[in-house]
Symmetry: C2
Subunit: 277 residues, 2 copies
């Protein structure tokens, strides 16, 4: 992996890397924040999965997470949201919610998506193996994300509780099998058989498998996507049925933007730090 850009930030280092992904079969960029403590030893990592249309740069530049990560000694690992580059399939109409910038953190099984869109394996295995081999990271991991990335974080943690100590999300797509964004993306990437979708639906996974990890979810009450796309109440219902440790906080007045994320990222990082330490 090669450094594309590097900047000092809150006494730590904000670094953008490029590498060739064998899983995604393309060159990828991702960002990392290494806190000052990483100069002296290994630190745990919080993975951040971004939402539709984002790259690794949105969270890096807009969330203000580095301040708290520097204080707590947490690395931040921030992947891109889809495979990239010439030859990578995109939606024919250039829709923002399918194809580039919209990988939904699944392993696609349907052509033309299945050639590159293997974001589940990339985020779960290839990227952690890469950064843990080359950066001063312990193997302690937590995971969080926003919207499509909140969906991704919940799904990755629910299916692999041994890989993470805690999971959180901002305005996650909680039940993608039953909302327009999810039905479109899962249908395209996984095909018409909804049984396949259930492996990528946090609410269905919670119902079927339960969850041993602590979960924190923040949701803005003024979020335009709340009722139609996000449906946190379905997640809460599934958590109650499975006696899972989910805290959902409804935040009055907040919308779907990074101003919402910036306002509460400190709480999420402190929540993860408690479980990572």
């Amino acid at each position: 992996m090669q450094i594309v850009q590097q900047q000092v930030c809150f006494g730590g280092r904000q670094i953008r890397y490029q590498h060739h992904s064998n899983v995604l079969k393309c060159d990828m960029q991702f960002s990392v924040f290494l806190p000052p403590q990483a100069e002296f030893g290994s630190v745990p990592a919080v993975y951040w999965l971004s939402g539709l249309t984002c790259s690794d740069e949105n969270f890096s530049s807009k969330a203000g997470a580095q301040r708290v990560a520097a204080e707590l000694g947490l690395a931040l690992i921030i992947p891109d949201t889809s495979p990239r580059g010439e030859g990578v399939a995109d939606d024919e109409d250039g829709a923002y919610d399918l194809g580039l910038g919209a990988g939904f953190y699944v392993n696609a099984t349907q052509a033309p998506w299945n050639k590159h869109y293997q974001m589940y394996d990339y985020v779960l295995s290839e990227l952690p193996a890469l950064v843990e081999a080359q950066l001063p990271l312990s193997s302690k991991r937590a995971i969080s994300g926003h919207s499509m990335g909140g969906h991704g974080a919940l799904v990755l943690a629910l299916r692999n509780p041994e890989r993470f100590v805690s999971v959180s999300a901002f305005a996650p797509i909680s039940n993608p099998s039953d909302c327009p964004w999810g039905e479109k993306a899962l249908g395209a990437y996984l095909g018409a058989d909804r049984e396949m979708w259930s492996h990528y639906d946090a609410s269905l996974l919670l119902l079927s498998k339960g969850c041993s990890l602590p979960m924190l979810v923040d949701q803005g009450e003024a979020d335009n996507f709340l009722a139609e796309q996000l449906k946190p109440q379905v997640l809460v219902h599934a958590a109650k049925a499975g006696h899972a440790d989910l805290t959902l906080r409804m935040q009055p007045g907040y919308d779907h933007s990074y101003y919402f994320i910036a306002s509460f990222i400190e709480d999420h990082l402190r929540f993860h730090a408690e479980h990572l330490s």
Copy 2:
């Protein structure tokens, strides 16, 4: 003035306004952060002047200033960096350092710039009068900025110490009469007579007028523009000659980006709050 966009952030309100500027003779947008305290009474304001190529959105989304402003009860007033719109002159070659996004906070005297480029009067008078009439602001003001905006903040404060209680800057263009950015812009906007430039040169103003206000300047040591464009040592020399209260902090490893601003904006807001309270 009309609200273009409004978002809750750290319990306060981040608002983007549009209005017609009589001074600039065009429609302008600017951003305001109102802290939670503004719901119950008037609050003091910190004006933020952005650098080359920026609009009001860069500082709003990338600096993480709202957290501290909400804690301290400070409003943030964030103007654009030049007049905007069809009919507003721009550099013929589309250079980033002249014309749109590069108003340098001067009152231009030379055609074609003099028709719209009156950013000094806009930021000093028209904008404060507008927001103080329509928003819960006291008339206590501090001012800060970055690069071209650090130059603007220093010049506005040095020439109008009765209007501000304190001034700060990140990597300001300290001596624009003697650097490529400044010579190009001041030459275009003000003409060849360098005597006219001296009214917009913080170092020359400090030498000739001194300064009664407390001044805080942060400068990254890894800033690519440090030696050729920014020259904080000239400002320090002028401050010493005039016995002015300037603190310059050289920050090892930091560059010219918003990662640098985000890392130290808390110190600047606390500095201003001390003088605004």
